[in-house]
């Protein structure tokens, strides 16, 4: 029996007015697979992600989760399907505490809707497990470093049993050391058999951890290839080549 892919996107199109931001992209994501979604600015990466995360509706195309056709009309639809998005700068609310951020939108509550603060404080222990040590659940997120913030968002996606995590430029604007920390967090997904789409324009960042690469250019998927079958040079060529064409 052939195993169904976790997610399949078929012929996704998205226009913004006259701009054809995503032009007939099809691809699959297998369980526990890390996909490097690479493309230059304006290649359509963000639009594609926003379609998958329920922010935008595609003008055309179908999405299947474990073989079943789904409609993703809002971010909460995506979450209900097990698709969790970690936006680069939008993952957490700076003015709120770590615990309040961790359970945002999925607060543990009693029957009257009041927060179970004891349970919320456990987020510290959950983050310990992925190697992130933060002193207090009451700490304001604003006081965390960029890498720590990504770690919190990633830990949250794991805790809430996401099946597919979309990481939107998780390493952008981070120091070299922090990039390494974030990449370590991403490996935890693989161990938990969670699939990841890692969006970046930096091949170097994603090459070490991805299983497969999808390269977008002018809204089209120009390459979809396993890591074993390619090299950094080939990917760079695909990304940069035909600039003048």
């Amino acid at each position: 029996m052939k195993k169904l892919p976790l997610m399949e996107a078929k012929n996704i199109h998205k226009w913004y007015g006259k701009v054809h931001a995503v032009n007939g992209v099809s691809f699959i994501v297998n369980r526990g697979e890390i996909i490097g979604l690479i493309g230059d600015n304006g290649a359509g990466k963000s639009t594609l992600i926003k379609v998958l995360s329920g922010y935008h509706r595609p003008n055309e195309g179908e999405i299947f989760i474990e073989g079943e056709k789904v409609k993703i009309n809002s971010p909460s639809d995506a979450r209900a399907l097990g698709i969790e998005t970690v936006y680069q700068e939008q993952a957490l609310v700076d003015s709120m505490s770590l615990a309040r951020n961790f359970y945002m939108g999925r607060e543990p509550v009693n029957r009257a809707g009041f927060l179970n603060k004891q349970k919320m404080n456990e987020c510290i222990k959950i983050l310990h497990r992925i190697g992130l040590f933060i002193k207090s659940p009451d700490l304001l997120v604003r006081s965390l470093s960029g890498g720590e913030k990504q770690g919190v968002a990633i830990g949250r996606a794991m805790y809430f049993k996401a099946k597919l995590v979309l990481l939107d430029e998780p390493t952008r604007a981070l120091s070299v050391k922090e990039v390494r920390t974030v990449l370590d967090f991403v490996k935890e997904f693989k161990e938990a058999n969670i699939s990841v789409i890692f969006i970046t324009h930096n091949i170097q960042h994603v090459y070490g951890i991805a299983d497969r690469f999808l390269i977008l250019k002018n809204g089209e998927a120009v390459k979809d290839i396993e890591k074993d079958a390619t090299s950094v040079e080939e990917l760079t060529e695909a990304l940069m080549g035909d600039r003048n064409a």
Binding site: S74, S76, Q90, A91, L92, M96, G105, G113, F114, R142
Partner: protein
């Protein structure tokens, strides 16, 4: 850039830790004002009668301020609270004139207040407009409707003679405590619990702190904001009814300017104009400071005309002091 933001982070962390300290300071300021005015008014200020008047005034303003603070934390403004409050009062006075039971009229007024809040909220979120402008429009519009209905002529509301129970329910006394203060304290505690300990409060802070993040986390940001608007509308209408009952008559100017006093109180109490930060306790203390200042100046014989000058100076000073401390901590 990064260093600057982490410096800011640290001082906001400190500010948050100090938020109770800060509330104690505001409380200290109001107590200090009490003592000052005790001397400048030669003792008149702390007489039971004056304290009773101040308690009622703090409660009426405070009931609106806690709603306005909640709304500001969610990232929105409401300038129409004065007009909505007057409209609620007018509804009760008019229906009472037509022979309706005042309790029923009160329910109608509260529903109307929520509806007016919902209108503010829905226009703001559906058309993605600044609520400042939307509620400026509805503030003027509702006041206009009030003038159209009353033609500027006062409406009597002598409910105390026919329904003393209604009067006592809203503005009577329980022992020495005025009923409006009980309404205020109970409402403040409920809102405080919701904001601090209920999932809805978490959504309010999230929506005001970063709307896009809240949305990505599956929070219905529009619904959250509209509910806050409706709460403000209901509280405003309630205060309007309270006031018309106490004064025993309605005039077309009732409640004007309360919108600015409410925002001023929320700001003095530590609510950020940009949303996401603020507390109900702070808002209550802000209402206390403003009211004590007004009556203190009057009782000291300095007069109501000076009140606005001093209040204006205090508002700007509070914001400058906040900014000064932030910059000090940053450097």
């Amino acid at each position: 850039m990064k260093e600057r933001s982490s410096g800011k982070a640290r001082n906001i962390e400190i500010l948050r830790r100090l938020s109770t300290v800060r509330e104690i300071i505001i409380f200290g300021v109001s107590v200090g004002m009490f003592i000052l005015f005790f001397f400048t008014s030669e003792g008149k200020f702390v007489s039971p009668a004056v304290i009773d008047i101040i308690s009622v005034a703090v409660s009426e303003l405070g009931l609106i301020v806690i709603g306005v603070a909640l709304l500001m934390i969610s990232g929105e403004f409401d300038l129409s609270v004065g007009s909505v409050s007057a409209f609620g009062a007018l509804i009760v006075a008019k229906f009472y004139q037509l022979g309706l039971n005042p309790f029923l009229a009160l329910v109608i007024a509260l529903v109307a207040g929520m509806a007016m809040g919902a209108i503010n909220g829905l226009i703001t979120v559906k058309f993605r407009l600044p609520s400042f402008i939307v509620t400026l429009g509805t503030m003027i519009a509702w006041r206009g409707v009030i003038y159209v209905i009353t033609a500027g002529i006062p409406v009597g509301f002598r409910v105390i003679e026919t329904h003393p129970a209604f009067y006592n329910f809203l503005v009577g006394d329980v022992g020495v405590i005025p009923v409006p203060s009980i309404w205020f304290i109970v409402s403040a505690i409920i809102l405080m619990l919701i904001l601090n300990s209920h999932w809805f409060g978490n959504h309010v802070y999230a929506v005001g702190g970063n709307k896009e993040t809240a949305r990505a986390m599956g929070i219905n940001t529009d619904k959250t904001k509209v509910i806050c608007f409706m709460l403000v509308g209901m509280l405003s209408a309630f205060v309007g009814v309270m006031r018309v009952t106490r004064i025993r008559g309605f005039h077309a100017l009732q409640g004007s300017e309360i919108e600015l006093m409410a925002i001023a109180a929320a700001v003095i109490g530590g609510t950020l104009l940009s949303g996401g930060v603020g507390t109900i306790v702070g808002a209550c203390l802000g209402a206390l400071v403003i009211t004590v200042l007004e009556y203190g100046l009057i009782m000291s014989g300095i007069g109501a005309y000076w009140y606005k000058l001093v209040l204006g100076i205090i508002i700007v000073s509070v914001v400058i002091i906040n900014r000064f401390f932030e910059q000090r901590r940053e450097s």
